[in-house]
């Protein structure tokens, strides 16, 4: 039985000099870009669920190999970028592992056991988000994405499960 691997163009090893450079950049522009993309691609399907218990909480996503830290929060109208600072919960993993999680190719607990995913801060908040994301059906989510984008996501997943 083949285990899902990622399509080749998703970087497995982020170039270290580039990562060091990224780590020195201000986090705001990256957080802004992330939030714009998330509101466009993910929010239309995510908003079907009741996220009120996580509204206003500060999240940090630390993409370890890219040296990238994203700060944001969630509100009734979608994601908002946040300034760098203390957060309620921090998720840490590599680019490739975040991609695997987003595409439903990998189980978060498996990554946790293998020390590839770390949840620091308010564990309950972290688990809430993890479990609620699991409750969103990828097909439904893809259908809610802007034209073409949803198909790309599903194709990526298909490529990964078939290779």
């Amino acid at each position: 039985m083949k285990l899902p691997a990622l399509p080749a163009f998703i970087p497995r090893d982020f170039p270290q000099p580039l990562a060091r450079l990224v780590a020195k950049l201000p986090t705001w522009p990256a957080s802004r870009s992330f939030v714009i993309a998330a509101n466009l691609a993910a929010w239309p399907s995510l908003r079907e669920l009741d996220w009120s218990q996580v509204f206003g909480r500060r999240f940090r996503v630390h993409v370890r190999d890219a040296g990238l830290k994203l700060y944001f929060s969630l509100h009734a109208d979608g994601f908002r970028a946040e300034r760098e600072g203390p957060c309620d919960v921090t998720f840490t993993a590599t680019t490739a592992d975040f991609a695997r999680l987003a595409l439903r190719l990998e189980d978060p607990d498996t990554l946790f056991f293998n020390r590839r995913l770390l949840i620091e801060g308010d564990t309950n908040l972290g688990l809430t988000v993890k479990n609620m994301l699991d409750a969103v059906e990828l097909e439904t989510a893809a259908a809610g994405m802007p034209a073409g984008f949803g198909r790309i996501v599903l194709n990526l997943r298909r490529m990964a499960t078939q290779n």
Binding site: L3, R104, N114, R115, N124, K130, A135, V136
Partner: protein
């Protein structure tokens, strides 16, 4: 009368996508719970509300798979109506069975919904046929899930002395304690599986990367610290490292998962009705991967019991998703018995 079930594959569903993953990958039945403490996987964001439950039941039953609802915590006086309502919901939505641990709740279910099929949960701690037969005679339970503490020889003795179907755990997280008889979690943080529906609930857990390693704390108590290259386990007390007489080690149990696959032929011979896969807290990805492997294995055993051997690829796939990435036969195999 139809033939008694043999090695039904019962898979976990913590969400609708997980339920669909189980059904699509060959589960004979799924088990699930509601979004509150009426079941023993009461974690934030997990489980089913009326809408997803209705949709899940429709999805599974259209494909002739069973839906079993776990109501396997112990109702408490102030909130007893919540459990009664959950039983009523299960009956009205047409689940195939409810899985209960508490005798008082069984009495309610029996009286209110006499047609509703009852299973005895592993949380009922029934380890002998005398205990199983208590629930069978008094409430007509049709199936009992045995705690993961018996050897297969002991399981055989239970099966020989009861009419109830017997379900065993096949794979997944492993309670080293007798289920329903463990208060370690509430001793540390106030909430136990029996009453709160979770062991080491999220609100009491803190993970932190420190210069000494990744630390896991439960209500402030350091239960383990992992070096960078070490595999981690769930933040449960039974899988923590402690110091006993100057020696620091996994004093109760290593982070490890149960995998009883190599015993499937023996379980088939004994007439074990169903095999349960643990993991309602896991993602749809896990459910899909594990269900697929176990479907293949059970089909192989049913085809030819004597020639059955777990394929290396199956074992590798299971090892990959395991806690601590290790497997054990648990209590089923005790060489010294």
């Amino acid at each position: 009368m139809s033939a008694p079930p043999l090695l039904e594959l019962i898979c976990p569903a913590g969400s609708l996508p997980a339920l669909k993953a189980a059904v699509d990958n060959g589960a004979d039945g799924v088990y699930l719970g509601l979004k509150d403490n009426t079941n023993a996987r009461n974690f934030a964001g997990l489980n089913f509300d009326d809408k997803s439950l209705t949709e899940g039941i429709r999805y599974a039953q259209t494909k002739r798979r069973k839906v079993l609802m776990a109501l396997n915590t112990y109702p408490q006086p102030a909130t007893l109506p919540r459990w009664h309502k959950a039983v009523d919901t299960a009956a009205s939505l047409g689940v195939d069975a409810i899985i209960l641990a508490d005798p008082g709740l069984m009495a309610y279910a029996r009286k209110t919904h006499p047609q509703l099929r009852l299973h005895l949960s592993v949380q009922g701690s029934a380890t002998s046929y005398e205990a199983v037969n208590f629930y069978r005679e008094r409430f007509g339970i049709q199936r009992a899930v045995l705690p993961r503490v018996l050897s297969l020889a002991q399981v055989e003795n239970v099966i020989a002395n009861t009419d109830a179907e017997i379900e065993l755990f096949g794979f997944g997280g492993l309670c080293v304690m007798v289920e329903g008889r463990c208060l370690l979690s509430s001793y540390a943080c106030g909430d136990s599986p029996n009453t709160f529906g979770a062991c080491s609930p999220g609100h009491a857990v803190r993970w932190e990367q420190t210069p000494k390693g990744m630390e896991t704390r439960l209500n402030g108590v350091l239960i383990d610290r992992y070096a960078d290259n070490e595999k981690a386990g769930y933040p449960t007390l039974c899988k923590g490292r402690f110091e006993v007489q100057g020696e620091t080690y996994y004093a109760l149990e290593e982070p490890t998962s149960l995998n009883s696959m190599e015993m499937l032929p023996e379980m088939a011979r004994l007439g074990v009705a169903a095999i349960k896969i643990e993991g309602r807290q896991r993602s749809p990805a896990y459910v899909a991967q594990v269900t697929q492997v176990w479907r293949a294995a059970i089909d192989a055993v049913k085809k030819d019991r004597t020639a059955f051997k777990p394929q290396p690829a199956w074992l590798a796939a299971l090892a990959k998703v395991s806690e601590g990435s290790m497997n054990t036969l648990g209590a089923y195999y005790r060489p010294w018995k």
